[in-house]
């Protein structure tokens, strides 16, 4: 492995111009909801600080998180961030294989003891001593525990690592469990979604690498900057919901007019994610925009919540969000004035605009 170098050095070695680098910093600041002034802070950190190695492990998963990640909208996001990762260990993307690859893992763990970030894609299975997922001749759960032992923090990529996803759906024959059920003594940042949005993934990892701290998390361990609002809150079809205009079938007049997909099973009202604001494929679209309801892939246990086409019928599950950390009922079963006021201020804060400059991102290609 190369000697300690900065992000900027990695980037320059790849032939990326300084102008392009500064643009990346301002885009990242915008995507993270930081003020433009913080772009300079990101640039300074990337120029001066030695890079933090990231080890990327794969358990039971489908690699959709990696697929999403390497398609991040801004070309620099994948070039810079990916070069910081793949230089170390990612069994899908790295060049080395076999014993050499496993040796790199040990080398990074020793050299950067207590100072590397562990990114986990997929989850461990516990059935039959973890024999349902073998990496390098050993159960993945053992590799996970071994590498997590000396890491600084863990990023749980996707619904698998965060909640369990399809392999943990009933009856869960392999006893797949999310990362936090196995590793209990390290900070875990959950970045759920199947897969998560590329810009969300690069945003989270860039924040951690540049500021050397965890992003602010909600009570479930998700970064508030990307998981603070429901799809429904910012959905462009929302005015049709408010006006009672629903598509009743996928080929009816309402569907053609772009009406709300609630009656076709859209899970937007219960799903926390940034799809309706950041969108996908460089901000091009997202499932609802292409005519299909949200399936709620970033929510805990979404495979076990019935058909994707069942209508949401129960609003008992909705708590009162005073802020992202406190959701709760009151003893009386109704909200009082103080709780209502807190919830209102929090709702207004969430409704404020974060500028993600999609046009600039395109212009830079």
């Amino acid at each position: 492995m190369a000697e300690i170098e900065t992000f900027y050095e990695v980037m320059r070695r790849q032939g990326i111009t300084r102008r392009s680098f500064l643009k990346f910093c301002s885009l990242t600041a915008a995507a993270l909801g930081l003020s433009p002034a913080r772009a300079a802070e990101i640039a300074a950190a990337m120029e001066q600080k030695p890079r933090t190695p990231v080890l990327w492990l794969h358990g039971l998963e489908c690699t959709c998180c990696s697929e999403s990640f390497i398609r991040a909208g801004h070309p620099l996001a994948k070039d810079v961030v990916l070069s910081m990762l793949s230089l170390d260990y990612d069994d899908t993307l790295m060049a080395s294989a076999g014993h050499h690859a496993e040796a790199i893992l040990e080398e990074v763990m020793t050299k950067y003891k207590g100072n590397y970030i562990l990114a986990v894609e997929g989850n461990p299975s516990l059935n039959m001593d973890g024999m349902s997922c073998i990496v390098g001749g050993k159960p993945f759960v053992e590799q996970l525990k071994h590498v997590a032992k000396d890491c600084k923090a863990i990023i749980a990529w996707g619904a698998c690592a965060s909640w369990g996803c399809v392999q943990a759906a009933r009856p869960n024959p392999t006893q797949a469990v999310p990362v936090h059920k196995v590793i209990t003594d390290k900070p875990i940042i959950k970045v759920p979604g199947c897969p998560p949005i590329a810009e969300v993934m690069t945003g989270v990892i860039t924040y951690m690498l540049t500021f050397d701290r965890l992003p602010e998390l909600d009570r479930q361990g998700r970064p508030k900057m990307f998981y603070g609002q429901r799809i429904h809150d910012k959905c462009y079809r929302r005015p049709h919901f408010d006006a009672g205009q629903f598509a009743e079938a996928f080929d009816d007049d309402g569907a053609r007019k772009g009406y709300c997909l609630y009656k076709l099973g859209c899970k937007g009202p219960t799903t926390y994610n940034a799809c309706s604001t950041v969108r996908w494929n460089e901000g091009t679209s997202f499932p609802i925009q292409s005519g299909h309801g949200c399936i709620g892939c970033s929510e805990d246990g979404f495979w076990d919540k019935g058909s994707f086409y069942d209508r949401l019928t129960n609003i008992q599950q909705f708590g009162v969000e005073q802020n992202a950390d406190r959701v709760g009922a009151t003893a009386a079963g109704v909200v009082g004035a103080a709780v209502a006021a807190h919830a209102a201020v929090s709702a207004v804060t969430r409704a404020r605009v974060k500028h993600v400059q999609t046009d600039e991102r395109r212009e830079d290609r």
């Binding site: 009202p269 609003i315 004035a337 006021a341 209102a344």
Partner: protein
């Protein structure tokens, strides 16, 4: 209110309530994610630039609402941003019946923990939060120079 733009249209509260009551009695009638404790109510509408601004409470949402004096041509779902005292808020063009409005979602669905009083308090507090500028960053204690030159004066610039 801008005195250069007479006459200002009447308060649209009653028209908004009528339009949403018609929606409640029509297509929303059998939707299961309503909060039946809540009425349809326009809350705290006031003039803000060339528009009426306030909150809208129904059994299925609490929104901020802007009713511009001139009906906008944009299709429902088109985004728009407005600089309000609390900062920039994102709105979406919408049509409630015949009314062209811009809405900004605060709460939907409305959890059953909100009864009518709670939801009205929520809406009123949200309006207060939107119309109150954020607190300025804390200032350092008054220095001798500031005391002598007047607070905030920068004699060297």
């Amino acid at each position: 209110m801008n005195p250069a733009v007479p006459p200002c249209p009447p308060d649209p509260s009653a028209a908004l309530e009528a339009a949403l009551t018609a929606i409640l009695d029509g297509p929303m009638r059998d939707v299961p994610i309503l909060n039946p404790q809540l009425p349809v109510a326009a809350i705290g509408l006031r003039r803000l630039g060339p528009a009426w601004f306030g909150a809208l409470l129904t059994p299925w949402f609490v929104n901020l609402v802007l009713v511009p004096d001139a009906a906008p041509a944009a299709a429902p779902g088109t985004a728009a941003e407005f600089d309000l005292p609390c900062g920039t808020l994102g709105f979406l063009h919408a049509r409630y019946g015949e009314l062209h409005v811009l809405c900004c979602s605060l709460l939907s669905p409305v959890p059953p923990l909100y009864d009518e009083a709670g939801a009205r308090q929520f809406a009123a507090a949200a309006l207060d939060a939107v119309l109150t500028p954020p607190a300025p960053p804390p200032r350092a204690a008054l220095s001798r120079r500031e005391l002598l030159c007047g607070r905030g004066a920068r004699p060297h610039e």
